[in-house]
């Protein structure tokens, strides 16, 4: 039967393609994972503290972790970053929600102008405005501590309304109208109707706001400059790897990296579907 032959050769071609793809995928997974495996191994390496030419530790030990907490200010930095992340995630979410709800739902004079203004302002590199803010904070005395950094993060967070607004736009207006006929004023509509429905985007915004301070080098280094006690983990760990420190601190760096990576990774994995929902702008019903 020639039809069977044709089917079989098609199947063979397909399984050949599949095998090829499997190989590729496994290769890709390996390449992606290797650096992290390397990180973990280095963190547990007992002998020497600098960089070496091999991957597997000859001695497994926890002393890097211990010295990380006892001999460096890592704990301070971790605490700093944690506080910043918690505070910022709360306030930033509140502000972003306020702005995106207003711009999505309400029509008022100057709305277009405001949206264009924010768009244009966003075209300036963020760091540029930070220089000026730094001067101001220095005058007030809020540099070299985490309060200044928190102010910076929260202060202009209203500009990041875009994704949340896109999500709000997908909520049908008929709900607002039904609520208004039922007797709700705009405030009640916001709190009792729209917000409960916006759980995915609220979680997304909070998640993003929480995760950002952990990886921010640019602003944190500016504000904290000069006072190592007010570093966040990014700035602090960066110092481990500069020329004077790296010989003694490389493994501690890896240990620090592991300590930070674990909770963040777990958090992200738990909430990843909200991440996807946010980034694809509700195009994925999720």
């Amino acid at each position: 039967m020639s039809r069977n032959n044709r089917l079989r050769s098609k199947k063979r071609a397909e399984s050949a393609a599949n095998t090829f793809i499997y190989i590729l995928l496994i290769l890709i997974s390996a390449i992606w994972l290797i650096p992290f495996i390397y990180l973990i191994f280095q963190a547990f390496r007992g002998e020497s503290t600098g960089m070496v030419n091999y991957i597997f530790p000859r001695q497994w030990s926890l002393k890097n972790f211990v010295s990380l907490f006892t001999k460096t200010e890592f704990l301070q930095w971790f605490a700093n970053t944690l506080i910043i992340a918690l505070v910022v995630s709360v306030f930033q979410t509140i502000i972003v929600l306020m702005v995106s709800y207003t711009l999505s739902r309400m029509r008022f004079r100057g709305r277009r102008f405001l949206m264009n203004l924010i768009l244009v302002l966003g075209m300036f590199p963020g760091f540029m405005s930070m220089i000026a803010v730094y001067f101001v904070l220095k005058l007030i005395g809020l540099t070299q501590n985490i309060v200044g950094l928190m102010l910076i993060y929260v202060g202009s967070s209203g500009m990041g309304y875009y994704i949340a607004k896109g999500y709000f736009d997908t909520i049908p207006r008929a709900l607002d109208e039904a609520a208004r006929i039922d007797g709700a004023n705009r405030r009640t509509v916001f709190y009792q109707i729209i917000l409960p429905m916006a759980k995915p985007i609220v979680i997304y915004t909070t998640l993003m706001a929480f995760m950002a301070p952990w990886g921010d080098y640019m602003f944190a280094s500016l504000i904290a400059f000069g006072n190592t006690k007010s570093y966040n983990v990014a700035v602090g760990l960066y110092t481990f790897l500069d020329k004077e420190h790296i010989v003694n601190y490389f493994t501690r760096f890896c240990a620090g990296g592991v300590i930070i990576a674990i909770p963040i990774t777990i958090l992200f994995m738990l909430l990843q579907k909200y991440y996807v929902a946010g980034v694809t702008g509700g195009a994925v019903k999720g």
């Binding site: 049908p172 008929a174 709900l175 109208e177 039904a178 609520a179 208004r180 006929i181 039922d182 007797g183 709700a184 009640t188 009792q192 109707i193 409960p196 429905m197």
Partner: protein, 637 residues
Amino acid sequence: MANLSLKHVYKVYPNGTKAVSDFTMEIGDKEFIVFVGPSGCGKSTTLRMIAGLEDITAGEVSIGDLIVNDVEPKDRDIAMVFQNYALYPHMSVYENMAFGLKLRNLSNEEIHKRVLETAEVLGITDYLDRKPRAMSGGQRQRVALGRAIVRNPKVFLLDEPLSNLDAKLRTQMRSEISKLHQKLGTTFIYVTHDQTEAMTLGTRIVVMKDGYIQQIDTPRNLYNYPDNKFVAGFIGTPQMNFYDAALNRRGDTVEICFLNTDDKLKVPYENFLKVKPEYLSGKKEIILGIRAEKVICDPDYIKKHPEAVVSCTVSHTEELGDETLVYGDLAGKTDVVADTKTSVVFKVDSERGSEINAGDVVKLAFAFHSLHFFDKETDKSVSPRVPEVNAFDGTVENNVLKISGLEFRLPKALETADGAVSAEIPTESFTFTGDQKAACIERETILGNNLLHLESGGRVFFAKTDSDVKPGELKIGLDMKRISILKDSKILHKPLELKNVLYGSVNRKVVKKTVEENGKTRKKKSVEFSLAVANGEYQVPDEMLKRLVTGGGMGVFKKKLRFEFSPYAVRAGKAEGPITGSVEKTLDYGTERFAVVKVGDASVTAKTDAELSGDVRLGIDLNSLVVIDDKIDMIIA
């Protein structure tokens, strides 16, 4: 007392689009009103204006006795069911229904009682703890209804609630809504684009197109007496057959000539009594409309009326079960898939239907009593149910108009030379206190008015009256102000101009007045508002000023306004008012006298007591002025 009233409601968007124009309607208690029309006709917009979800550009909406133009939706005592149900997705059914009640601070027990009662009525008691996403479309719709019912409103508003349901569910929910209306006895206002829904649900239907009301009537009347071609084509399935034609009256029969085929139908004149005479001359193009079930295929009928028969080539049939729809073409063009100007669709019973095949040529007759005629350009019906005008041929002798066995003395204003004339006498212009006699052979009651069929001199004519007149011998007279007299198709006398038009504006002035106060004279500056009408100025009463600003907005002071008023609202005399003009002519109708006064470029017809000439002054009753924004043609007050 009307439960809901809309007066000259307009919705105009800032970019100039007029979504709703001059919507006027009184809706009584317990009525089921349906707004129906194609997409974009303004029906949803009107509903939303009633709800308060859209601002009213001009006009008045009242619920009960209260004008609600500026009242928030929640205070209007209305409830609304949306097309997409708009249920709060994170709340259970119970909470959805309780939401509005909680906002009104009802006690928990009261809320509980009402929700349970309503759930009982709708059969959703078992779903009270479910969330909307766990329910089917029909159930969600019931919850949406429940949320509205539980509020016990004065008016129910429904915006295409069944559009999202499948056909079977739609039919079922339709009857449920109907039963609900019976049970609750509240006024329902329902918006749909589906004319079947409109016809089955409504006590009265409002057909809308492009923002204008086309016709308001009961389903039956809309079906049988459409006012224009749009309503005729919109209502009824299958759609009415339309053909371009012209009518030619030849004595006792009228010839219907089809423009796109060679067929001619000969129909007795008695079926055309209500048709305006100018359409029977063969010179004006009309559109002939006839419904599918009135196109008759029965061979006996066809044998009886051979002069009203056309032939048709069948293209295909649709089997409906108890009857068959047959599609064909009067000119034989059956190979084109789209509709042509000579397509026809008619109904036969299934037995006959099984005999008919594609390609057959059958003979069809049009039922005489069910023909509709529409003016080709304006689409309006030229055989209205309540005709406007009767046309007579007659003579004038010694200023006595002799028509159809009746004699009327012409007043001074209508003095005519002797000779043959034709007269157009509006149906409204007959009085029943005159000295002429006519026999009333029939009385039709249409929409609250009585249409009398009168007979005299061998011909039937019509009179409209709202008084209760019984058939029999009647004494009739004529309101001379309303008739037209023509000679050789030239108008000798026009009817009295009932609508005067003047232009003007409303102005704000700062005046310095010297005022006596406590024995001292003081100069006080105050603001005054005046109404400029043509060349005269009136002081505006406060009520009217408020109405003008509400209707026209704050910018009304800059607008060019058009004032329309009847002759009865204006008096002419030596010192009647601030407007000056000069008399062009006076019209003496015997019992009443009017002066046509030239004011600037316009002519105003005003009632007057004395014989006037030369320069006069006009005084207008401001309360009966209709104020219109001239630029966008919108009634303000």
